[in-house]
Amino acid sequence: MAEIRKADGIVDWLDQRIAIRPLMKVLMTEYWIPKNINFLWAMGVVLVVLFTLLVVSGLFLLMYYKPDTKLAFDSVNYTIMQEVEYGWLWRHLHAVSASVCFLIIYIHMFVGIYYGSYKKGREMIWITGMLLFVLFSAEAFSGYMLPWGQMSYWAAAVITNLFSAIPVIGPDLVIWIRGNFIVSDATLTRFFMLHVVLLPVIIIAVIVMHFYTLRIPHVNNAYGEEIDFEKEAEKFKAGNKKESKVIPFWPMFLSKDFFVASFFLAILFYLTCYHYSFALDPINFDPADHLKTPPHIYPEWYFLWSYEVLRGFFFSADLGLIAFGIANVIFVLLPWLDRSNVVAPAHKRPAFMVWYWVLIADMIVLTIWGKLPPTGVNAYIGFVASILFLFLLLVALPVITKLEAKKNGQ
């Protein structure tokens, strides 16, 4: 038991009881960030802001939403949109933030790939990040069901049906997941539980883990330079702020992030108020009908690339499913598919640079064709793009990086 003195202020009072000063040092004022980074390193904080907005808008939606197949559609499209004061704001903010959240996640992820921030001691950051991507995908999918429109219903039907391909237990598993022979009330209520409680709680826990994984290897920087953080921190603390290669997370790093986040929020609220329709599918304004398939089912834009990999093997559902499965987990293995230990921005790694932009171009092609009906020549373009995607990650990347490693005498 520490000796408790009369405190000379609230901070001192807390410090005696919960050691608030050392805690703030560890988490904020003496958590060191490299100086040579650019605005792309602000995406993490932007994602924290977005997640907070999603939670807050979600709480307000939750007060009027009814998780029942007979009531869900109207509770969203009539009660929240027509009756609740500012209900439109929560709904559109939630939809737009969800869509933009995936855009920022992809940027965040591809910044990591560009600067080689996924390897040489930073693997755990990458793995927890990819785990978050999977969790966010599950969160997005389960949330998409809730308005109970046509696209909600049929997306749920198609995705739950994927499990029927699992040998032996497949068909029974689908019925078990749905809680009925078809997607129904039981399906809606269990996915409601996942969307509003279980997945958010797990996501918050993994975000905390994701932050912690940064502690030991520290944040990477724009040159991929290996910084002796302890030495540079000593310089900074001794007053040599100019010479030091690092700055504290608070107040210095975050002040710049506040600027980026503010700029981002201005755009986000502009979209929310004036251009929200990109985040809402017109087909989802028809109430769900289990006996009428919409002519063309497609997911939201952020799932189109993997959806196109699923459809790409148009001649075999099994191959498509296997490729889809691989596409969804392959990025987790990136630190091991990259056989070179060179940590540098892609423009300093010539072959990798080509690979990087071909991959992005391929994923954009997959995304565009994922939205088009899979008929005629489209089916073949989707097939080629799917094959190229798998080739890039499973064959091209290991070969390119192996050669790079040889050249560097590794």
């Binding site: 049929w154 039907a157 198609v158 049906n161 994927l162 029927s164 019925i175 078990w176 997941i177 749905r178 809680g179 009925n180 022979f181 078809i182 129904s184 039981a186 269990r190 289990h290 006996l291 009428k292 398939t293 919409p294 002519p295 063309h296 089912i297 459809r311 148009f314 001649f315 075999s316 559902a317 099994d318 498509g320 009906p373 899979p374 008929t375 089916a379």
Partner: protein
């Protein structure tokens, strides 16, 4: 501490471990069962269709366990599928769950071409319900049925159904 001797502490540890394992197992059973379809859902699975009013070439859709089931009364010109046709009285019927075997969309039937076309991924099935083009890997599923005079009872396994299933 002897080597073979189980100390009181070891015993308590093993007991705790055993009790915890039983608890975890029981919890998993409860969790799994809570996600099972409710008994009311499982038992409400029978649909009776009267075929006596159907015209030659007519296509009809009924609902069975929340899924659409197509029934087509075949004309003399239509291809006969020994392994799939349901014979009621002196007419052939094509019966199947109208769900695309690729990813579960509902293909639409065109009476002109006498084939099913799935809009989701371009799959095609003929009037017998057999996959003829695109990603569907198998013909459409024949639901369990029992023939009762001019009536078809979906959900019960009659001798004709079992014969078809064994052929397929």
């Amino acid at each position: 501490m002897g080597e073979k001797e189980v100390s009181r502490r070891d015993f308590l540890g093993m007991t705790l471990g055993g009790v915890a394992a039983v608890g975890v197992g029981a919890s998993l059973v409860a969790m799994k069962s809570s996600w099972d379809p409710l008994p009311s859902v499982v038992s409400a699975g029978f649909t009776t269709v009267d075929l006596s009013s159907m015209q030659d070439g007519e296509y009809r859709q009924v609902e069975y366990r929340g899924n659409p089931v197509y029934i087509i009364k075949k004309t003399a010109e239509m291809k006969k599928c020994e392994d799939r046709d349901v014979v009621v009285g002196n007419a052939d019927y094509s019966v199947g769950i109208q769900i695309c075997t690729h990813l579960g969309c509902i293909p639409s039937y065109s009476a002109d071409t006498t084939e099913f076309h799935c809009a989701c991924h371009g799959g095609k099935f003929d009037a017998c319900g057999k996959n003829t083009f695109g990603p569907p890997p198998t013909p459409m599923t024949i639901p369990p049925f029992k023939i009762d005079g001019q009536k078809l009872v979906l959900g019960e396994e009659g001798p004709e159904y079992l014969k078809l299933v064994n052929k397929a």
